[in-house]
Subunit: 294 residues, 2 copies
């Protein structure tokens, strides 16, 4: 893989750090692009890549292109816009790391095939430090043979790597992961908010929760933050609303009742509508503690 | 503590095994009582205690009485019935281990004081094996000095012991623990049910959930059971409905919105109304998997 030219599209905190990580590990990061030209030229200088001023130039200068953009609209733009990644894309591999609605991955998969290229979806369930040090949690959807071919590169980016099925399936898994995480977070906010209103010692309550069937990963990451109102953002409330919404659409199309996902979506949507969408997901506790938003 | 005569009221799978545990550890289990006389005489023979045919006899024959009954009505009966534990109770200590609504602990606390006795609530968040081998999770409410006095005995029954405040507070904590546990369980059932309907590999999904922010204690205890429909009962759906209901009443009286607890209560109530209340709490997945109850 280290003989391949690697391109990057989307140089935000995730994409930029993934480029730095591959550079550190001896990959040839050859071509980079961001909507912000200043960000593009700074990262290009840092990793010795060409700063591209358009998407076709990234494709021209790369064998493998990683894309890390914010949402479906941005994905539409980079694959189907006037200047796009599929121009001259024969023989290229695209690895798409944004969290998107599952359906768009299928469309990109087909369009890439038509252009003689291959597309993989790579859903990430991790944050910035993991991007920087190559310890991402990655779920891959798409062609399994192509997954196997690029696995050495994916291994260098991740500490956990799962091939989950055809294009779109990784987004489905990610939506369900985040749906459950968001519900568990909302549950914790209710429990702590009620405990607070009852005058319980919340440090004691957190310790008890950690030793019982109520234990969860979000108790470890968000419990004390909810009490302290420390909502510095790792995964935003707005993002939580988006992902729970994706999962709800999947549930609806599959005909599965999901009242808890629905209640959680409503809470995160409410928080976002109150202008608090940029808080961390722990911010949902603003809705369940007396003297805060209620 | 080992010079004290210990009484037991309620010799079901929890109470009987706690009596066996204390007997094994060298305590003098002196007087036992169960509504079922056969159960009473069998356990009395096993631990060398007097088989009591009424509650006043337990009080007469004990210094410390542990009660392990099923619900508020049973507690009413043993403390306020015609034959009850408070007759001749001066100087006795009662340790009440049933999960009850928080308010009843306050009433028993007062009535015990009036009788010259002391009452502690001891909420358990554990199951039968932990009762047998003295590794219960215990949360104690009541008088702190009395807690300190009987702590050696409580330590011998438990591997985790928390004093949480005045009478009734331990039940509040327990209700919140179970409320959060039940929500996390319902969340898992939704995620797995949707994943199943989408044709995802559920073994893969369980592995992924365990490595991400969706991880929880109930994922470990109930995830595979939900997929396999193995609902052998450790903590019944009916019990889950009861505890979520207690938590909801606390939320309501405290003025805290709890939409997830509400949705979870509705699911467990529905399951119970369908005649499936004796399934384990994992049985909630019967409501979210295609081809089961939906």
């Amino acid at each position: 893989m280290k003989d391949q030219k690697i391109g990057f599209v989307g140089l935000g905190r995730m994409g930029g750090n993934m480029a730095r990580c591959l550079h550190d590990r001896g990959y040839h990061v050859a071509a980079v692009f961001d909507l912000n030209p200043e960000v593009t030229s700074e990262l290009a200088a840092e990793v010795g890549a060409t700063a591209c001023s358009n998407l076709a130039a990234v494709t021209a200068g790369s064998d493998i292109v990683l894309t890390i953009v914010t949402n479906d609209a941005a994905m539409e733009a980079i694959y189907f816009g006037e200047d796009n990644l599929l121009m001259g894309a024969a023989g290229r591999t695209f690895i798409n790391c944004a969290t998107l609605t599952p359906a768009i991955h299928g469309r990109i998969d087909s369009a890439a095939k038509d252009a003689g290229a291959v597309s993989l979806e790579a859903c990430m369930a991790s944050s910035i430090p993991q991007a920087r040090n190559g310890s991402l949690f990655l779920m891959i959807g798409g062609d399994e043979a192509e997954f196997t071919r690029v696995k050495p590169l994916l291994d260098d980016l991740s500490e956990a790597l799962h091939f989950v099925g055809p294009a779109g399936k990784a987004s489905e898994v990610k939506a369900l992961v985040n749906m459950i995480m968001n519900i568990n977070t909302a549950a914790l906010a209710e429990g702590l908010g009620i405990g607070h209103a009852l005058g319980l010692d919340l440090d004691m309550l957190l310790r008890v929760l950690g030793q019982t069937g109520a234990r969860s990963r979000v108790l470890e990451t968000d419990g004390a933050d909810m009490v302290a109102r420390d909502h510095e953002c790792y995964f935003s409330a707005e993002h939580a609303a988006k992902d729970s919404g994706i999962a709800l659409k999947l549930a609806e199309s599959a005909g599965i009742p999901a009242p808890l996902a629905q209640a959680t979506f409503a809470q995160y949507t409410k928080l976002t509508a109150m202008g608090l969408g940029q808080l961390d997901k722990s911010g949902i506790a603003e809705l369940t503690f007396k003297g805060r938003a209620i």
